[in-house]
């Protein structure tokens, strides 16, 4: 039972990291129709900036403010990089541009910091013991903050006038602008918000384990897959798909017969297989309904 709970908690931490990526992708996609896959590299870059200041000052507050500044800068850059694609309705080209931008950032990190892993916190990580399971403090912060933030975002998007504005920008940008909404500013704010959310995840990963130039990539790809499995317009589906993609591979690896010899390296393979099955069975999202086309 202890082992089961420990796996569940560990998967929950990873799942929440992916969830925040998926939610950021969802928000950006909601306002611009573009999948901003460079978020993985942006999260990594922000985490490295946190690391640099923390090494010099040893202050969490100073490092946090510096990292936040970088996240906002990347939000601004992302908006100006991808806005043209939104306006020209070249969303797939936008995806490719975002992918290239992400790879450029990762290469830049590789050049500046080299590829060896960097730890923000030295020594043993602080752990919270719940009796039946244990969780690291950064892990606990990730899960609690992640779930609270997701619930707030889901509530704002689905139940408030701000959420309706957000969704209507994708539907008809010109009409929303004619109602006095500065659609460009809303898009830029969402880009910044997405970068801050993923930057937070990047820092938490750095505190929980170690920093590597490519650490954000697998997470953003998993978040990206979760977004499409769950349904690009259904935040409820995205949340379920994220935990599905995090929990199922983890349990397959830990509970499969020993002769199958599954290890952590199989995880992305399982994620891809689950994605394939889900997309073939439910191409429009986990909770989609059949709609008759006219």
């Amino acid at each position: 039972m202890d082992f089961f709970l420990q796996i569940l908690v560990n998967s929950l931490v990873t799942g929440t990291q992916v969830l925040l990526f998926a939610v950021s992708l969802y928000l950006i996609r909601s306002v611009s129709k573009i999948e901003h896959v460079a978020l993985g590299a942006i999260a990594t870059f922000v985490a490295y900036m946190f690391y640099v200041v923390f090494m010099f000052s040893g202050s969490f507050v100073a490092s946090g403010i510096f990292a936040l500044g970088w996240a906002l800068i990347f939000g601004y850059i992302s908006f100006h990089l991808l806005e043209k694609f939104y306006k020209n309705n070249d969303t797939l080209l936008g995806l490719l541009a975002s992918l290239s931008f992400g790879i450029a950032l990762e290469s830049l990190i590789g050049i500046i910091f080299e590829t060896d892993a960097k730890s923000i916190l030295d020594g043993v990580l602080p752990v919270v013991d719940f009796g039946l399971f244990r969780i690291t403090t950064p892990g606990l912060i990730t899960v609690s903050m992640g779930l609270v933030l997701t619930m707030i975002i889901a509530f704002v998007v689905l139940r408030t006038p701000y959420g309706r504005v957000l969704r209507s920008i994708t539907e008809n940008n010109a009409l929303v602008s004619s109602l006095g909404v500065n659609a460009g500013f809303v898009r830029m704010a969402i880009y910044c918000m997405g970068c801050v959310l993923t930057g937070f995840v990047g820092v938490m990963i750095g505190l929980n384990s170690a920093l590597t130039p490519f650490m954000g990539f697998n997470l953003v790809i998993t978040g990206f897959i979760a977004l499409f499995i769950g349904g690009v317009t259904d935040i409820r589906g995205v949340v379920v798909a994220t935990y599905l993609l995090s929990l199922v591979p983890e349990f397959l690896i830990n509970y499969s017969p020993r002769y199958l010899d599954f290890s952590a390296s199989h995880k992305m393979f399982f994620v891809f297989v689950i994605a394939l099955v889900c997309v073939l069975a439910k191409p429009n999202g986990l909770f989609s309904k059949r709609i008759r086309k006219s």
Partner: protein, 276 residues
């Protein structure tokens, strides 16, 4: 001399692979991002099934199973799945080490008798490239080429002319997988070593750069863009960079170039612009 042969082979191989990307991404407007998967799949098939080349080439068609997805899912989901397949396949190569050698890869891949030395590979890949130049030229002039361009413009219009958009898409994805597979096998024979990083996103960026640079339905543009993209990072060799950073430098140059190219191309090839 070996360096020049290697660069020549790289140009030829990149062209062979880029023909597939040119037809899918630039002409048909299908964002088939699993090109590196076919490349790596065929390289590994060749290494594992040494001396059974026909079986290896047959397996290259397995990569084209992805074309089934094109028919089944939406365009966006297809793009996502093909991008995810790169990560999935790399994880497969790392995980199933009994078959693929895991992270250590497979070394000492034997070359067939007619490709023992580098000049032989130059000759074979050069001949293949010339053949493909002719074939692609014919495709552009044939009804199939027009249907490909039509697919990018409007699927509905294509269907109204009794041409199946799914059929055209499936054929072009199969073709791109096959060509990418052939390129992967030639590269595997050149370097005689494979590891999970073979192919992957660096390969996608390289080929996508070529394909996007040559948006026009012209073989000459494709040849020129291949030359430009492959030779561009070679300039970096004349600077004294740390060898461990060369790979990152190369990727940085490619990706920045790709971002600039894509931004400049955006809006220029949409039908709305031309109608106006």
């Amino acid at each position: 001399m070996g360096y020049y042969f290697s660069v020549l082979i790289k140009i030829f191989i990149s062209f062979i692979q880029a023909v597939g990307a040119h037809l899918t991404m630039s002409q048909a407007g299908i964002f088939f991002l699993a090109i590196p998967v076919s490349y790596s799949f065929m390289g590994y098939s060749l290494a594992i099934l040494q001396k059974k080349f026909l079986l290896g080439f047959g397996l290259a068609f397995c990569g084209s199973l992805l074309s089934y997805l094109y028919v089944r899912v939406s365009h966006e989901s297809f793009t996502v799945l093909t991008a995810a397949s790169i990560v999935g396949f790399e994880a497969f190569l790392k995980s199933f080490s009994d078959l693929t050698g895991g992270v250590l890869g497979i070394s000492g891949i034997m070359r067939p008798g007619f490709m023992k030395a580098l000049p032989d590979i130059v000759l074979v890949s050069g001949c293949l490239m010339l053949t493909l130049v002719l074939i692609e030229n014919l495709i552009f002039k044939a009804p199939f080429g027009r249907a490909l361009r039509g697919l990018k413009e409007s699927e509905t219009l294509l269907e109204s002319m009794s041409i199946s958009a799914n059929k055209i898409g499936t054929v072009v994805i199969c073709l791109a997988s096959l060509l990418s597979g052939i390129a992967g096998s030639l590269e595997a024979l050149r370097i005689q070593f494979l590891d999970p990083t073979f192919g992957g996103f660096p390969n996608l960026i390289l080929i996508a750069s070529i394909a996007i640079l040559s948006m026009k339905p012209s073989v000459r543009t494709l040849v020129l863009s291949t030359l430009f993209v492959v030779l561009l990072p070679e300039v970096l060799r004349f600077f004294s960079f740390n060898p461990s950073q060369m790979g990152h430098m190369r990727m940085l140059v490619y990706s920045i170039m790709l971002v600039i190219l894509i931004r400049n191309l955006s809006g220029k090839f949409t039908s709305a612009q031309r109608i106006v």
